[in-house]
Symmetry: none
Subunit: 394 residues, 2 copies
């Protein structure tokens, strides 16, 4: 990197689960004049977030796309959720996704989501200490919480308490043959037992806390260390804020960014436009494309894509920065789950090799000048455009 280099900014927009299957897709059928204009002036391609045939989770896909190693740097879902909920994690913390549930006297689940009830007060009551280990519970939305265990000698290698279905609450068990793993599982089981005692006092449907996705937090890399620039994140859902934080980005809270189809896309665009002045990279996450895929709602997915084009892309299209538009994975409406089909990606800005692609979708981008890349390739390519290149060799 030379001292005199002129650095440029970049905006990375990830529409969750945007891509689909078939000969016509919600994206290919949607009216997206702004995305298509960017495609026409830019370079397009396909991206395998993890690698061909591997179905990405949203967490691993974002980790890779934002510059982490999806295998080496992945701490499990819990730490991302805890970071996204605003808990500052320390090296060695074990973090979980958690949710309030309703159980009967035999620990049989009556409602895994406690009627979608939860509150800060309930979460607060669960901040206890057992055998020197602190339990930190933070309420996020509805029945959802993040849980962190903080203390010496803990391990993230323990199984879920949440049975992910009806049935009896599970006992957490060690997933590794170590004292740390056994002790952590034992402490967590004791905590869950006590959560029932404590929550029952409140006389709400939420009478137990269930956990899943245990993961041990460790400080990995930051995008600043890895690429030389800083960044911020605009997202509605905790997970994506968490991945961004994990990689050293700042999280900008935006009123009206809900992570649902009712999200305020204009407010997210405005947040991007006002904060990009102070940062090198702006990362915006838009969730509802994925939700519509999971719902099997073809028309809803298409219409939400049109809203993204109209309410978000149109607003940022003339920004003085590289614009990169892509998805974390496909969520085809026909199968209502993530799939490994690669996602379209476009890069727009000074110097890109304009190709023949005139419309942004899964089918056209296969003809693009970028060819097929992997998720981990994206940030190095963006960094090189921005001027923060690292040369290997002389």
């Amino acid at each position: 990197m030379t001292e005199e280099a002129e650095y440029k900014k970049a905006v990375l927009v990830i529409c969750d689960g945007l891509a689909d299957r078939g000969t016509s897709t919600p994206l290919s059928e949607a009216e997206t004049p702004n995305m298509d204009r960017l495609a026409g002036d830019g370079i397009c391609g396909l991206m395998h977030s993890i690698s061909p045939g591997i179905v990405p989770g949203s967490d691993t896909a974002h980790l890779a796309i934002l510059g982490g190693d999806p295998y080496e740097d992945y701490p499990g879902r819990g730490p991302f959720e805890a970071l996204g909920a605003g808990i500052e994690l320390k090296e060695g913390d074990v973090a979980f996704r958690a949710n309030f549930a309703t159980i009967d006297n035999n620990w049989e689940i009556l409602d895994r989501r406690a009627g979608r009830f939860g509150s800060d007060e309930l979460a607060e009551a669960l901040n206890i200490k057992i055998d020197g280990v602190r339990f930190i519970v933070k309420h996020t939305t509805e029945h959802r919480c993040a849980l962190v265990m903080r203390g010496k000698g803990l391990s993230g290698a323990i199984s879920d308490v949440d049975p992910h279905d009806m049935g009896k609450v599970l006992k957490s068990g060690p997933l590794e043959d170590t004292d740390e793993s056994r002790r952590t599982a034992k402490l967590l089981n004791e905590f869950v037992r006590r959560s029932h005692d404590i929550l029952s006092e409140f006389q709400t449907p939420a009478n137990v806390l269930l956990t899943r996705g245990a993961g041990e937090f460790r400080q990995v890399m930051s995008i600043k260390d890895a690429f030389g620039f800083d960044g911020f994140c605009v997202a509605g859902s905790a997970l994506y804020k968490g991945v961004a934080k994990y990689l050293g980005m700042d999280v900008i809270e935006v009123e009206g960014a809900t992570g649902r189809a009712d999200t305020d896309l204009g407010a997210k665009a405005d947040a991007l436009l006002s904060h990009i002045e102070d940062y090198d990279l702006g990362f915006v996450h838009i969730k509802a494309t994925d939700s519509k895929g999971h719902d099997g709602d073809w028309k809803g997915k298409k219409e939400f894509i049109e809203r993204i084009d109209r309410e978000f892309i149109a607003r940022i299209i003339d920004i003085d920065a590289y614009i990169i538009l892509t998805a974390d994975h496909s969520t085809p409406v026909s199968i209502r789950r993530h799939s490994s089909d690669p996602v379209p990606v476009l890069m727009h800005g000074e110097g890109v090799r304009t190709d023949q692609v005139k419309a942004f979708n899964e089918l056209t981008c296969a003809q693009g000048g970028l060819g097929a890349i992997h998720g981990v390739d994206l940030m190095p390519i963006i960094a090189d455009y921005m001027g923060y290149y690292r040369m290997y060799g002389v």
Copy 2:
């Protein structure tokens, strides 16, 4: 490899830094009827010399393209330069790029290039022994030399003496916490001190020798071992000859091959045509496309590409061998440095799957039948065409 196989020859032409950025490039705008004819009859694609987003050095890129592993087999720049200068290296030698410079009495640099002065006589005077370690200095061009330290227990993990700028001559220091690293740095510092005493006697601007790019030589693979065929190299610059030698190729010295824009492209073509009889693979390196990129000279780059087409490609186009034409990396004139943008590659010869690409450039080749490959893929593909394939499995 079967006994009865009929082997074919191949010619690999690497135009340094040939590729560029943007919607029209020096290559896409240049009149290149011969390259385009090869593209029309051949198969084209894009190549990431190292991997997407990684900006290649010329050394690592050539190592990969010529069949080495750019991470495992890379010894640093010094050994390539020393080999290219014609020094025969032995296992354990530590080699450097070196240059004569002018310093004052306080070891402040007055001219990093000693007014571009150097001579064989000066270099000869620096062939001394310190503490059982032999210092071998060979003058190459102008102020440039190669330096080799030969002896037991040396390490390539030491820092540069050359400050790469004005200021004081640096002390080399160990880059690893080992006795070998510390001792090598100490010996080098003593050598640099003595170089000043010795060179000062000659009363020329060259009164010290500065070093950079230390690397330890070890015999890695040869293309003969790896692929089964032999090869030769035609190049003007030491580095490329050095990489070729490192991989076991012979270097053919060609009068008029300067590594600059004044190079005799016709002489290089003739050298290729006359020596390909005796070898399986001919590798030709052409440098000035890269230099024009570093100079930001769009027109000069375009015109030199036209010269390559007219004076080199036209002359070899009917050779009875596969022709592979590519670059080691992009050197866009807009940024005057290497970039990670992939390079175009074409392969011409019997049996290749002719694709729709009719012109050879960065934009058209993205549509080629070869798709996008990595630098390390190129030699195995060439080897298979030549008949020197290695089957994995039965």
